[in-house]
């Protein structure tokens, strides 16, 4: 890690192989970082921008998961539901989430609502698919055993199907979170008035490489942080899942 920073420094400040107009040096980066934190940039401080983006991602993600996982469970459980919904899904799915951005802007403008809509689209699909697959991949004997024990439908779904599918559900959640961040940054790059993507946008127009890097760094940091939280939730929920320990 330290070697990387050293390399960075060498390539930029020490030797100017990479000029300041192309990629910022460590000191450029540091300067920009302090600037945005203390005096603000593009309308607000870094913390404020980061919070704006984080808010939207979390909201979009939660809505996507709250709608996607139950749908996936239903489709996995009920073959008629699968037959009904799958074709529509197949048609919508290949459309990259980012492709919804122009439409979202048309419908909902440049505000928060449009961003949440696009995030929802992006994060919804992986949740549904992974939940569905998780349900379908449950070992048959487990379901048969639950049936044999006379388990009624709702208890079966709550206490057997959902826990059994939870490893795959969490995989879906991780993908959903990734998709949420990607979509948010893109949406903010295209049209926004605040947020991390907005920082990137303004910095690009101002030709301010140091600030661009700050923006990217923040995106990475927020992404890493939210993923870490999800991972720790996953570890606790799946403590019983020894098979996957590798």
């Amino acid at each position: 890690m330290a070697a990387l920073v050293l390399l960075w420094f060498t390539l930029t400040t020490a030797t100017a192989i990479i000029g300041p107009g192309r990629f910022p040096s460590p000191s450029d980066f540091w300067l920009s970082l302090t600037q945005i934190n203390v005096r603000g940039y593009a309308g607000a401080t870094l913390v404020s921008h980061a919070w704006q983006s984080l808010k939207l991602v979390v909201m979009g993600f939660l809505v996507a998961v709250a709608t996607g996982v139950p749908l996936g469970l239903w489709m996995g459980w009920d073959r008629r539901a699968e037959a009904l919904i799958n074709p529509v899904f197949l048609v919508i799915r290949p459309i990259p989430p980012l492709a919804w951005i122009p439409l979202a802007i048309l419908w909902l403008g440049l505000g928060d609502a449009a961003k949440i809509m696009v995030i929802w689209f992006a994060a919804f699909v992986p949740s549904v698919i992974n939940t569905f697959t998780g349900v379908r991949n449950i070992d048959r004997p487990m379901i048969e055993a639950a049936r044999m024990l006379g388990t009624p439908r709702w208890r079966l779904i709550r206490e057997v199907i959902a826990p059994a599918a939870s490893p795959m559900i969490f995989t879906g959640l991780r993908l959903s979170l990734q998709a949420s961040w990607t979509t948010l940054v893109a949406a903010e790059l295209v049209g926004a008035l605040a947020g991390v993507g907005f920082i990137l946008n303004v910095a690009q127009q101002d030709i301010y490489p140091g600030m661009i890097l700050v923006g990217m760094f923040t995106v990475g940091l927020l992404g890493w942080g939210t993923t870490a939280i999800l991972s720790s939730l996953e570890r606790r929920a799946l403590a019983w899942n020894v098979a996957a320990r590798d």
Partner: protein, 262 residues
């Protein structure tokens, strides 16, 4: 799951019902004016626009023209990712030292969404082809690298031991043992790469392009030409699906040829 599987006929009927409901809802929302007409044209109007755009240009080119530009960048980006990713991944899987150097860099950059590279892409390449290619590369590179790495690293140890016993040098081990063994993993990685690359392409074109389907859509949005926006979405979806189908076929063919049904 619950109850017996549906027959093909039953499945098809439910499926048609699903699509019918979807189209019906669309038409209803559009015609009734719940969503203003300019923001949600009917399926019919959209289809008409789609056909029109096949021959008459919008924002500089016809639909096939835009698709062509997009596909060109896409192919450059994905091929570049594969050409760098596969060898690098294999080498990393074999030479621990390389792994130790590259992995931390990779981990650090992994959480930055490819799209976040757009500002630098714009700065370095303007609206030239380099911009989108770079973004696509950023999106397509990780899966290929990771899968090539995994494929090489987790090769059946017995195979390596056998190669050693037979006195195989490093170069030959990598090219004749690791590479073939890693092919299934690489193919799977390429499929994911292709998908991610296509998605990144769209994102890139929304911002740093002067041609291509994404560019077309942004222009259409600015002039509130919703039918064109929808056309763009459908075209992107269709091509994306086609790419995935082709790659799946390729993967299946490869598996059959090697006698594996993994």
């Amino acid at each position: 799951m619950n109850g017996a599987p549906l027959t093909i006929r039953q499945g098809a009927l439910w499926g048609l019902l699903g699509i019918a409901l979807f189209l019906g809802l669309w038409i209803f929302l559009s015609v009734s004016g719940i969503v203003p007409k300019q923001f949600l044209p009917t399926p019919g109007e959209t289809a008409a626009r789609f056909i029109t755009l096949l021959t008459s240009p919008f924002a500089g080119a016809t639909l096939p023209g835009h698709l062509g530009s997009s596909l060109l960048r896409y192919l450059y980006g994905v091929l570049l990712a594969a050409v760098i990713g596969v060898p690098l991944g294999l080498l990393m899987g074999w030479f621990r030292l390389l792994d130790d150097i590259v992995t931390p860099i990779f981990d650090a950059l992994r959480f930055i969404a490819p799209i976040a590279w757009v500002p630098f892409a714009a700065l370095w390449f303007g609206t030239g082809i380099g911009g989108p290619v770079m973004i696509i590369f950023a999106g397509a590179f990780p899966p290929v690298l990771i899968n090539a790495y995994r494929g090489a690293r987790f090769v059946e140890p017995r195979l390596i031991e056998a190669a050693r016993m037979l006195g195989t040098n490093d170069y030959r081990t990598i090219s004749e043992i690791l590479l073939p063994a890693a092919v299934p993993s690489i193919m799977a990685g390429l499929r994911v790469s292709a998908g991610l690359g296509w998605q990144s392409l769209v994102g890139a074109e929304l911002i740093v392009a002067a041609a291509g389907v994404g560019f077309m859509m942004v222009q259409a949005q600015a002039s509130v030409q919703t039918t064109t926006v929808l056309t763009g979405m459908i075209a992107i979806g269709l091509v994306g699906m086609l790419i995935d189908v082709l790659l799946r076929q390729g993967e299946a063919w490869l598996r059959r040829r090697r006698g594996l049904e993994a």
